[in-house]
C-alpha cells in the first residue's frame, strides 16, 4: 500500500504516552488518545479517577470517520482543513485536533474540565505529538511481518473460520 504507517514503539511511544498523561493532568480530561487516520489506536491514557472508557476500537473508528468527513467538508468549502472538532453535550465533551497528516489527538472530558483549557493544552500537545509521529513514520515494507507470522496467522484463520 502507498500510505505510510505510523509505528510507535520504544522511546517514541514512551514520549507520546508522557504527552498524553501530561495533557490529562493539565486539562482535567478523562481520556486522551492518539489515533492514526485509519482509526487505529496508537496510544491511549485514562485518568485514574475516570470510569472504564467505552470500546476504544469503536471510538477510534467513529472519530477517524468523523474527522475524515469533516476534512472532506472543509475542502468542499474551499478550506484546506478544519483543524479541530468539538462536540459538547450536557455532561461530556469530545475534542479532536489534527496531528499532522497521519494522526489525530482525541480528548474526552466531562463538565469538570473547562473546554477552553482542554483546547489550549490539546493544541500544545498536538504540536509535540506531531514531531513524534513524524519520526515514527515507517515504510510499510520494513514492518517486519515475515512468512512465519503469515503461517501462524493462517492457522488461526482456519481455527476461527473453519478449514
Amino acid at each position: 500500500m502507498v500510505e505510510p504507517a505510523v509505528a510507535l514503539f520504544g522511546e517514541a511511544y514512551e514520549r507520546a504516552a508522557r504527552v498524553l498523561e501530561e495533557l490529562l493532568r493539565e486539562s482535567g480530561a478523562r481520556y486522551t488518545l492518539l489515533l492514526d487516520r485509519k482509526g487505529f489506536v496508537l496510544v491511549h491514557k485514562e485518568a485514574l479517577w475516570a470510569p472504564k472508557p467505552p470500546a476504544l476500537d469503536s471510538l477510534a473508528t467513529l472519530i477517524a470517520g468523523n474527522a475524515a468527513a469533516t476534512q472532506a467538508l472543509a475542502r468542499m468549502l474551499g478550506e484546506p482543513r478544519f483543524n479541530e472538532l468539538l462536540h459538547q453535550g450536557s455532561a461530556h465533551g469530545l475534542y479532536v485536533e489534527e496531528v499532522g497528516e497521519l494522526a489525530l489527538l482525541v480528548v474526552i472530558f466531562d463538565s469538570s474540565a473547562p473546554v477552553g483549557r482542554v483546547k489550549l493544552y490539546g493544541k500544545r500537545a498536538a504540536q509535540v505529538l506531531e514531531s513524534i509521529t513524524q519520526e515514527a513514520v515507517v515504510n510499510p515494507g520494513t514492518l517486519g511481518i515475515d512468512s512465519e507470522y503469515r503461517d501462524g496467522a493462517n492457522a488461526l484463520l482456519d481455527e476461527l473460520f473453519g478449514n
Binding site: 500500500m1 515494507g141 484463520l157
Partner: protein, 195 residues
C-alpha cells in the same frame, strides 16, 4: 497499510466490503458477528438510516488471536452502496489492506455491479492505488435468487480478466461468508509478508 502497535503488541488490518447497494455487504458482516465467539469480536457499529441502509459504514473488529507475540486483528468495514454516497465510500477506503467485492446475482443488478467496480477503481485511484495493487476477493452473493445469473457471467462483467478469486454466497444463511473472509485475509497476510 496495516498498523502495528508495538507497545500494545498488536497488528491490525483493514478489510473493506465494497459493492452496489443492497448486494449484502452488511449481511456478510452481521453473519460474521453472529457466528464468531464473543471473545473474538468487538462491538459492531452500524451507521445506517432508519430503513437499515448503510449511511456511512458498518464496522466490526475481529480478533484472530496471538501470532508471534502479536495480537492480530482484522477491522471489517462496509461502505454505503448507494451511488450518491460516493464521498463517504471514498473516505472508508483510506488505508485499506484488502477488499471483498460483494456482487448481486440478480439479473437486474448486473449493471449496478459493473458500475460499482468501476467506482471502486476510480476511488482507489484517488489514493494512488490500482486494483492490482491490493488483495481483492469477489463474492457472487444471493445465489438463492431464483433467476440468479451464472457466476461466469457476473465475473465477465466485473473482472473480465479473471484476476481475482470469486466465491458463491448466500449471506443471509452464511453460505460462503467465512470462505470469502478467509480468502481475503489470507491474501492480505501473504501480501504484507512478501512486501
Amino acid at each position: 497499510m496495516s498498523t502495528i502497535n508495538f507497545a500494545a503488541r498488536e497488528i491490525n488490518f483493514k478489510i473493506v466490503y465494497y459493492g452496489p447497494g443492497m448486494s449484502g455487504k452488511t449481511t456478510n458482516l452481521k453473519w460474521v458477528f453472529q457466528q464468531i465467539p464473543q471473545n473474538r469480536k468487538g462491538e459492531m457499529v452500524s451507521l445506517a438510516t432508519e430503513d437499515e441502509r448503510t449511511l456511512f459504514f458498518d464496522f466490526l473488529p475481529v480478533d484472530l488471536g496471538e501470532v508471534k507475540g502479536f495480537k492480530t486483528r482484522f477491522h471489517l468495514y462496509t461502505v454505503p452502496g448507494q451511488v450518491f454516497y460516493n464521498a463517504s465510500r471514498k473516505l472508508i477506503l483510506r488505508g485499506v489492506d484488502g477488499i471483498v467485492f460483494v456482487a448481486d446475482s440478480a439479473p437486474n443488478r448486473l449493471r449496478a455491479n459493473a458500475e460499482s467496480m468501476r467506482n471502486l477503481r476510480e476511488n482507489l485511484a484517488e489514493y494512488g492505488i490500482k486494483l492490482e495493487d491490493i488483495p481483492i476477493v469477489l463474492q457472487a452473493n444471493k445465489r438463492d435468487t431464483p433467476d440468479a445469473l451464472p457466476v461466469e457471467m457476473i465475473q465477465a462483467v466485473i473482472d473480465p480478466e479473471r484476476r481475482f478469486p470469486i466465491f458463491e454466497a448466500v449471506a443471509t444463511t452464511g453460505m460462503g461468508v467465512f470462505e470469502t473472509l478467509k480468502a481475503v485475509s489470507r491474501e492480505v497476510l501473504s501480501r504484507v509478508a512478501s512486501s
